[in-house]
């Protein structure tokens, strides 16, 4: 098959994955901003913030 065609098809498949990721981002954003469902995550509980370096 033509190398150019194979490459653009391969790239397009990767773009499908990107669109899926963007859709998930839109879903997450909407949950917290459009519908007003703001999370109240207690960071001390889930990660121990204040007890040491966060995220490390």
């Amino acid at each position: 098959m033509d190398r150019g065609l194979v490459t653009v098809i391969g790239m397009s498949i990767a773009y499908v994955a990107s669109f899926l990721g963007m859709w998930m981002a839109w879903y997450g954003w909407k949950r917290r901003h459009v519908t007003g469902e703001a999370e109240k995550v207690d960071l001390k509980k889930v990660r121990g913030i204040g007890d040491g370096e966060v995220g490390s």
Binding site: D2, R3, G4, G10, G21, A25, A38, E53, G55
Partner: protein
């Protein structure tokens, strides 16, 4: 590796940061070894063999895209390390703001999860081909069995296992590369025999790394060489070569300081390019022994043939063990990296922001397993795809090459412009690469014209998109500027930071009196600003890497020019480190005092914490 997996299991399970970044605690030589090992995959000798067999030493310039590390080490790695983003997708919400930033984060996470699976598939297939060449195994043996073994320690020990494995595997790989290359050169009559053999065939141009076919014509014109240098070197100012950059992003963040991140990337890139030079000499030896092969699928296996056909029986086992080590290091990196993008940027950010550390580590393991299974399916689908196709794919991302740089160096570039560039690139690539040539509207463009056309057409979309939408909020930009101190055009943001009293007009000086030509004593405030010392490193660094790569090839061919090139590269390297090291030390010490505060803010944003949102600028 099994013992290592058990040992590092305890460290990896402590937190998401341990599982994916080894707790941001690594000295520079471990990320450096990991950069080298990850970029030494089973398909890499095929790719280098293919270019050098077809083009001679000038083919090495195709492999110089790793030269982006020469500039990135002192520019974008430094900026990115300060941003603290675990991934290139997370970087989007540090650099940009609001919905556009979130869409970009999801976009890039989706892209990278797929790309990791894709890379795992094609590297796995390369291993399948090597197994078939060496032992006559069915291809799927090589695709599946080594990857499953790798998955065991990657699942257990996470990035700790990856990076420690990479270090050991890197040593084994260097040993095998030197051994097989030496055996190949000796079999072709020694260095002089290789040079004489090629000259005797009337193919002396193959020994010249600058053997151009003209300014614009032929298969290696000056303009193509210059284009490749621009892509690599200028790309280092930002995240220009995004297909490589995202792998190194993890190595940069796993380093324990800004200085360690810079040196990790620099040495990883430098060793990779020197390795290419050594390989090139061996492949010219293979050319002397087996000239005239026209099928790329056949000559791409040349370096493996040197090993399997010339080594004595006892050493063939060692050689195969080294190939496995090369393979393990690449597979483990991409398994862990793909899982990182899924876990951190999709699962945690958008589905379960309140997930505990323990459940995130388990999700990381589950994502690793799913990626592995996906890669098997993908690998079996693309049995005949060579790395030339990957190179073509890399080239076709030209439409986002400039935006990848602009996001680092230009304050006004915004999330909508960047997102527009990604989407436009797909349409433009279809148009330029296939639709217009297929219908005879334009000829099939040479690579350099394809690159510049895609870049220019993409710019026609992303510049208007940027100017027709608002700049990112100044609060967000000021915070980003103070945290990362980016290079480039940040004047209005810098002025606003000064107006708010967050940045001194005249930083405290370490010396009284006139500025020395090369400053070696820095206050933290002085070190944060870009200065001539940075520019000396930025200019010298690609020259050193280029000389190292070409010099290694020439030296292995016994040519005096190679020794001079290596000596010059060493001398310039000493000067470069003498100039830049005091500054990097000063930047690192100051930044580490701020890091805990920045990490906490990032984590609150990550969890959609309300406090994190209110922190988004008003109180910078």
């Amino acid at each position: 590796m099994v013992g290592g997996a058990a040992f590092f299991y305890r460290l990896a399970r402590r937190s998401e940061s341990d599982f994916f970044l080894a707790g941001r605690s690594l000295p520079w030589w471990l990320p450096a070894a990991s950069v080298f090992s990850t970029h030494t995959a089973t398909d890499t000798p095929m790719w280098i063999t293919g270019t050098v067999y077809a083009h001679g030493l000038r083919g090495l310039w195709y492999t110089f895209f790793a030269g982006w590390t020469s500039v990135a080490a002192f520019v974008s790695a430094r900026i990115y390390r300060r941003a603290l983003a675990m991934t290139q997708a997370e970087w989007q919400v540090v650099r940009f703001h609001g919905l556009g930033a979130e869409l970009l984060r999801g976009w890039i996470a989706g892209w990278q999860v797929f790309m990791n699976m894709f890379i795992l598939g094609w590297v796995g297939m390369a291993m399948g081909k090597v197994g078939a060449l060496a032992f006559g195994w069915p291809v799927w043996y090589g695709l599946v069995i080594p990857s499953v073994i790798t998955a065991f320690y990657t699942l257990a020990a996470g990035y700790w296992g990856v990076v420690m494995g990479d270090f050991l595997q890197g040593i084994v790989a260097i040993f095998a590369i030197l051994l097989v290359s030496w055996v190949g050169i000796v079999a072709a009559g020694g260095p002089a025999g290789v040079v004489d053999g090629i000259t005797g065939m009337g193919e002396a141009w193959r020994l010249d790394s600058m053997a151009f076919t003209g300014w614009l014509s032929g298969d290696f014109p000056v303009v193509w060489w210059a284009t490749m240098l621009v892509i690599a070197i200028v790309g280092g100012f930002g995240m220009g070569t995004s297909i490589d950059w995202y792998v190194e992003a993890q190595r940069i963040q796993s380093a324990k300081s800004v200085r360690d991140a810079a040196y990790g990337i620099w040495w990883g890139g430098a060793i990779t390019l020197a390795r290419n030079g050594i390989w090139a000499a061996a492949i010219l030896a293979f050319f002397v022994m087996a000239p005239g092969i026209t099928d790329p699928a056949e000559y791409e296996l040349g370096w493996f043939r040197l090993g399997f056909e010339l080594l004595p029986a006892g050493l063939i086992g060692v050689f195969f063990a080294a190939i496995l080590a090369i393979h393990f290091s690449t597979i483990s990196s991409h398994l862990n990296l793909g899982a990182l993008y899924f876990t951190r940027d999709l699962y945690q950010r958008y589905l379960r922001p309140d997930a505990s550390e323990r459940s995130l580590v388990w999700m990381g393991r589950a994502a690793t397993a799913v990626l592995l299974l996906g890669s098997f399916a993908y690998g079996l689908m693309m049995e005949n795809i060579t790395q030339w196709l990957i190179f073509a794919l890399w080239l076709m991302m030209a439409g986002i090459w400039l935006p990848n740089i602009l996001q680092v160096v230009w304050w006004r570039f915004n999330s909508w412009g960047y997102l527009a560039s990604w989407i436009a690139n797909l349409g433009v690539a279809w148009l330029v690469v296939w639709i217009l040539p297929a219908f005879g509207v334009i000829p099939v463009l040479p690579d350099y014209l394809q690159f510049w056309s895609l870049m220019a057409l993409g710019a026609l979309v992303f510049f208007p998109a940027t100017f027709l939408t608002k700049a990112e909020p100044m609060d967000h930009l000021v915070h980003f500027y103070l945290q990362t101190r980016p290079i480039g055009w940040w004047g209005p943001v810098k002025a606003e930071a000064r107006r708010r009293g967050l940045l001194d007009d005249e930083p405290t000086a370490a010396h009284s009196g006139p500025r020395p030509l090369i400053r070696r004593t820095w206050t933290p405030e002085e070190a944060d600003a870009w200065s001539r010392e940075d520019w000396i490193a930025i200019v010298l660094s690609p020259v050193i890497m280029g000389l190292g790569m070409i010099g290694a090839a020439n030296a292995c061919l016994g040519r005096m020019s190679g020794l001079w090139q290596l000596a010059l590269a060493t001398g310039l390297g000493l000067v470069m480190f003498w100039v830049i090291d005091p500054k990097l030390k000063a930047v690192s010490v100051e930044y580490e005092l701020q890091q805990a505060k920045y990490l906490e803010r990032l984590e609150r944003q990550m969890r959609w914490s309300r406090q994190g949102e209110s922190d988004n600028g008003e109180n910078v």
